[in-house]
Amino acid sequence: MNADFHNRRGFLKKSALTTLAGIVGTEIVFAEKMPKNHVPLAFDEGLKGKHPDMIVLSDKPWNVETPPHLLDDAVTPVERMFIRNNGIVPEEKIDPSTWTLTIKGESVKAPKVYKISDLKSKFKTYTYQLVLECGGNGRSGFVPQTSGNQWDQGAVSCAEWTGVRLKDILNDVGLKDDAVYIGYYGKDLHPSRDPNKVVISRGVPIKKALEDETLVVWAMNGQELPLMHGFPLRLVVGGWPASVSGKWLHTISVRNKEHDGAKMEGHSYRVPRQSIPPGEKLAETPENFRIIESMPVKSMITFPKTGAMVDLGKALSLRGHAWAGDVAVKEIQVSIDYGATWQKCSLQTPKNRLAWQQWSAQIQLPKKGYYEVWARATDANGVAQPMVIPAWNPGGYLNNACHRIAVKVV
């Protein structure tokens, strides 16, 4: 939010004050006496309960990312979890006791409606730590620039989600043999506020939908879902672009064909089937573009924060997370010489499938000067992160280039 409303010294920008004056219809008296980094209530909606150093990329719809050093926890706290909204957060009063989930579509034997209390009583509850990463995380690294939120590194999280398995619900409903895909529908509003327009309705193939870790959840980190993250009910499908984990969930359609909801088409959450030169135009047809499924291997240095100045001769402790979509991470290494040599880090096993893994290392920086510490993870299939920006694509997706921090030995 500093980026939007505050200047670099933490005071509100003049433009923000003008906007605010417009909202409240008067000048903000004593504006210069507002505490540093204070966010006046009118700006507060999407940032309620969020860490003050979260970075706002867009406030309508809300898109907010987390600086890497704030993602140090193994389980991402809600105040440090990125927000990616395509539309407007539901404005109606939400009553979880009357909220329903409808399962319908060509491939159900008969539609069925559940209240949240039905889900809780009828099916076994599971809790998993699951990585949610925006398909466009890292988009700002692509040249030429692609349109969309210019995410840096922080559109990723691994929270602890509690709910029921989608497969248990679908078993209870009863599926026909021809089910190939599911598509979700949520109660977020289209930015145009046209109630007939669907903001986003994406989904996954039935195989992914029936995995043990694909959940319909009502709780995050042991608490009721926050409004910004889908209260009172959402899908969580770990390891795939987070856009398949629909929020404010009210309907799941079981399809006998690839789901054709909003943001399934064009180049939304798709990449070229054949790689193209940076900047080249490509007709947005299904023949040219494939849907992004499992996210690529990636890692992050969450400690120390970039910019650390350390004393010569002292060991530097490093740590962070690594994840690799549907598969596990096999190895992670760090380099202090731009990839000329690599040092293996210690790597923990994931808490459960599709959770990120914690890594740590101790390094010695041989002499005074400027260093970059680079981290590179390799997945179970032997595929590693690229050091350079990977294949350019029109949507700016899947930039899994190595994360790095600046360190100075003084």
Binding site: S140, G141, V143, P144, Q145, S147, Q150, P304, K305, T306, G307, A308, M309, V310, D311, K314, A315, L316, S317, E372, M387, V388, I389, A401, R404, I405, A406, K408
Partner: protein
């Protein structure tokens, strides 16, 4: 030189949606030198490409200040004369046609805007 290139690309441009290409299109370049056509081209030819190839200009993208530092460097080391009142139009020309742009970039830019702090370790 690649390093200089990368350093010359302004990160502040990151959030502007459209960055015009500084690459001159074919029909707007001088047939002999390949330099961009412009009322100041004859001055540039007189002051620059008499001594060195126009390719030395064509392969670079610098800010106005960086182009000025090249002129100063040539004046210090290569006997380039004082450009006098032509210095401004020469710089205008270089800054207009050969400014940093996205077609000259590294696959990873230098880290920018690092806020240094003392880590107690």
């Amino acid at each position: 030189m690649i390093g200089l290139f990368a350093a010359a690309i302004s990160k502040s441009k990151k959030h502007s949606l459209i960055r015009a290409s500084a690459h001159p299109v074919i029909d707007s370049t001088d047939a002999v030198t390949g330099l961009a056509l412009d009322p100041n081209l004859s001055l540039v030819k007189a002051q620059c490409t008499g001594c060195h190839s126009p390719m030395l200009i064509l392969q670079h993208r610098f800010t106005r200040d960086e182009w000025l530092s090249k002129i100063r460097w040539m004046q210090r080391n290569h006997k380039l004369w004082d450009l006098g009142e032509t210095e401004k139009p020469v710089l205008d020309y270089l800054a207009k046609h050969y400014a940093p742009n996205q077609s000259a970039y590294s696959r990873r830019e230098p880290l920018r805007n690092v806020k240094w702090y003392k880590l107690e370790n």
